[in-house]
């Protein structure tokens, strides 16, 4: 039987079992501890999982469950595809990344990421600078940090990720409700999350550290 381990993210040490389907149809999501951290993992039979829509969604769903389950917790997310040869290799990676992990936990403790995209209707050339200014003015003050993401198509007016303290979630949701009632009849607003802070975490784990990849 394969000992390969697929990793979703890292939490502060805690025994977790999450009831949801994982990547590659995994039916058991559990934790592997290294000192004060626990990696959220499932078993897998490869160290190079294929990036399919279904598995990317499974990866995100597991992370969302862990983020919100039983009162919620801080999660340092891994990007899709981080599979290790076995638990020993995974623990070696956690050991080498422990300082970066500790510093990251301190930076993002008690926060979640929320995404806001605002899209103009097709074939609409109306200038929308005022929309961008108004939306970002309302949301910036409610967030601990924010990132400007790619405007990968002409119709995108806003594409931002916000790092929001859990105790500001209701206020942030209320601000989004206000934005939706102001613009919903002329623009498409896509509000997503809560996510673990993908866009606010910058830990690089080299392939050579993963062993077997």
């Amino acid at each position: 039987m394969s000992e390969n381990i697929y990793t979703y993210g890292i939490v502060e040490q805690e025994d977790l079992e999450v009831a949801t389907e994982g990547v590659a149809g995994a039916d058991r999501i559990y934790t592997v501890d290294y000192r004060t951290f626990s990696a959220v993992v499932s078993d897998i039979d490869t160290t190079e999982p294929e990036r399919t829509d279904e598995d990317v969604e499974a990866h995100n769903t597991v992370l969302q469950r862990v983020l919100e389950y039983d009162g919620g917790r801080t999660v340092v997310p891994m990007s899709f595809g981080m599979a290790f040869k076995n638990k020993r290799t995974l623990k070696g990676v956690l050991r080498s990344a422990r300082r970066a992990l500790r510093s990251t936990f301190n930076d993002i403790k008690g926060t979640v990421e929320l995404g806001v995209k605002i899209l103009a209707p097709a074939d609409d050339a109306t200038p929308r600078e005022n929309v961008y200014a108004s939306v970002t003015d309302q949301l910036t003050g409610l967030s601990a940090s924010e990132t400007e993401n790619d405007l990968f198509m002409d119709r995108l007016i806003v594409n931002k990720s916000y790092l929001v303290d859990r105790d500001q979630r209701d206020a942030f949701d209320a601000a989004i409700d206000g934005i939706e009632s102001e613009y919903d009849d002329e623009l498409i607003i896509k509000y997503t999350g809560p996510w673990p802070p993908y866009n606010f975490v910058d830990i690089h784990i080299g392939a050579e550290q993963q062993g077997g990849r």
Binding site: D53, K117, L119, A122, D150, F152, M153, L156
Partner: protein, 83 residues
């Protein structure tokens, strides 16, 4: 201007070579294809594209991206164009 710069820097390359490489660069622009992949996904998520349309376009774009990556790999080191 950059064409002239390139000719000055690389006098042994013909203008045809440079224009040809620029055309290939544009045709096999992996960033642009990645943007199209994101656009396809977003249009599907907001309901402007059906699942069938989304899947068909996604498959096309993934093939394009793989081809573009292979071509870019082959072109690397052959002719470098200053932007």
């Amino acid at each position: 201007m950059f064409i002239i710069d390139d000719l000055l820097v690389k006098p042994f390359l013909s203008l045809v070579d440079i224009i040809h490489t620029m055309a290939l660069d544009e045709m096999y622009d992996t960033d642009a294809i990645r943007d199209d992949i994101k656009e396809n996904r977003l249009l599907y998520e907001v309901g402007e594209r059906s699942e069938d349309e989304y899947q068909r376009r996604k498959q096309e774009l993934e093939i394009q991206l793989e081809l573009a990556q292979q071509i870019q790999e082959q072109m690397r080191g052959r002719v470098e164009i200053k932007q």
